[in-house]
């Protein structure tokens, strides 16, 4: 069963540029499909009140951008040389990726699915290891992780159908989660 809950896969973009249309679905007893889509990272930024005289010049330089509310600006954190440390980037997964999951007859294994990139294209990296025996290998040389798409889940020995397992997948929603207004202050939720 694919799930996405607060703290486990579900995230709201808040004021960040975070966005994702990439989804993971179970398409067979032991088959997962990562649907093509796009993923936009947050980058590394500070939010500040928009001061036109201060910010308009650096917006032109690509070092900042105005938020949709028009009152704040997103300043990309800069490296020592004055260039953005990491501005938001959008990666496109061009085609669906079908993944066959295999259990081990004797030992539990774990799976994780990451979105990775070589800074040219995006791809899917499936990571599998025997629990307490192996470690995940690194991404291929020249590639790096963008984000988890399917968070680690344990596959018991001899599993032949994923349907009974809970698998948490990434879901990005715009804005902020509900329940942060005064009405919620009256209720202890955690």
């Amino acid at each position: 069963m694919m799930k996405s809950e607060l703290h486990q896969g579900l995230i709201y973009a808040g004021d960040s540029p975070l966005a994702s249309t990439i989804t993971v679905e179970q398409t067979g007893p032991m088959q997962l499909t990562v649907r093509a889509g796009s993923f936009t990272t947050t980058g590394q930024a500070r939010l500040r009140p928009y001061v036109p005289a201060d910010h308009d010049p650096i917006i032109v330089q690509g070092k900042a951008e105005k938020l949709a509310d028009g009152t704040r600006v997103r300043l990309w954190i800069q490296k020592a040389n004055g260039t953005p440390l990491e501005s938001a980037k959008t990666y496109a997964l061009a085609a669906n990726q079908i993944i066959t999951v295999t259990s081990d007859p004797l030992a539990a294994v774990t799976y994780t699915i990451d979105l990775i990139t070589d800074d040219l294209v995006a791809a899917v990296l499936v990571k599998r290891k025997l629990v307490e025996v192996e470690k995940y290998g690194p991404p291929p040389a020249g590639w790096h992780k963008i984000h988890e798409l399917l968070f680690e889940f344990i596959l018991p020995p001899g599993t032949t159908d994923l349907a009974g397992l809970t698998m948490y997948v990434l879901t990005v929603k715009p804005g902020f989660p509900p329940g942060t207004g005064p009405a919620d202050w009256q209720t202890q939720t955690g």
Binding site: L6, H7, Q8, G9, L10, I11, Y12, A13, G14, D15, S16, L18, T41, T42, G43, Q44, A45, R46, L47, P49, D69, R72, R74, I77, H147, E148, F151, E152, L170, V172, F176, P177, T180, G181, W185
Partner: protein, 266 residues
């Protein structure tokens, strides 16, 4: 010129002034100059204010709150001549002996309706008008209005998240119940290297997704759990969207629950 050296002029219906085309020539004279009637007085003051015209309207009744005196300003409108344009009223909110309080009302018209009080400048708090300028200060104060367009917050308007310290909506300000003047500090450090002969520990790790994405990598502090599970928590692989909670326990197979965390970021 008619010279009246003393006494009163009574029983006069109207006084008509010709246009003398000049201001009064001497003290205590009243003269028309074009469309102006000028009442001239002269004294020797240098830095004080003189009130050289007074309107007095006393009463044969018993004065009570709201008694006052005013001045009506009239001109001509499309269908009225004369047409009331405005009035200034000075009225009393307290007529008690030795406790008199007064206020100034500016009366204006809206949509052809009768003059109505729109602004009140009072010496004490009043009630129920479009705008009330008052004070209850015990010393001279200076209030400087901002040189920009905006809305002045009131005691009801400031209790809005979006107005608190410029924070965006849905951000709630965290208070401190324990003490005033405290502040948060934060930092990073490199822990000492782990020993090589210590007891083995068992490690659980879970990737936690923040409910809301940060704009830059936050600081994350892990708390303990609520159960008696002799476990310690730690965090690693912190990003703007997730972090990995590492649980260290000396008990093989234990299942710690309710581990808590705090993240500080923008």
């Amino acid at each position: 010129m008619i010279a009246l050296t003393s006494g009163d002029i009574t029983g006069v219906d109207e006084l008509a002034f010709s246009d003398a085309a000049a201001d009064p020539t001497a003290d205590a004279r009243f003269r028309r100059s074009g469309d102006e009637l000028t009442w001239r007085t002269q004294d020797a003051r240098t830095n004080t204010v003189t009130r050289n015209f007074a309107l007095l309207s006393d009463t044969t009744g018993v004065p009570a709150a709201s008694i006052g005196i005013g001045m009506l300003f009239q001109a001509e409108s499309g269908d009225e001549n004369p047409s009331d344009f405005g009035a200034l009223d000075f009225a009393a909110s307290d007529v008690g002996a030795g406790t008199e309080d007064t206020f100034l009302s500016l009366l204006l018209r809206i949509a052809g309706r009768a003059l109505d009080e729109k602004y009140r400048f009072s010496s004490t708090a009043g009630d129920g008008f479009a705008a009330l300028f008052t004070h209850a200060v015990t010393a001279d104060r200076t209030y400087t209005l901002p040189d920009e367009t905006g809305t002045v917050l009131t005691d009801t308007g400031h209790n809005v998240a979006a107005n608190v310290h410029g924070l965006p909506a849905s951000v709630n300000v965290l208070g401190n119940r324990s003490a005033s003047g405290e502040f948060i500090q934060r930092g990073t450090f490199d822990p000492a290297a782990a020993g090589t002969t210590d007891n083995p520990v068992y490690i659980s790790n879970t990737t936690v997704t923040f409910p809301v994405a940060f704009n830059s990598t936050p600081f994350v502090m892990s708390g303990g759990g609520t159960g008696d599970n002799d476990a310690l928590g730690g965090t690693q692989v912190i990003t703007t969207t997730t972090f990995r909670m590492i649980i260290y326990t000396l008990t093989s197979g234990s299942n710690p629950t309710d581990f808590r965390w705090v993240a500080l970021g923008t």
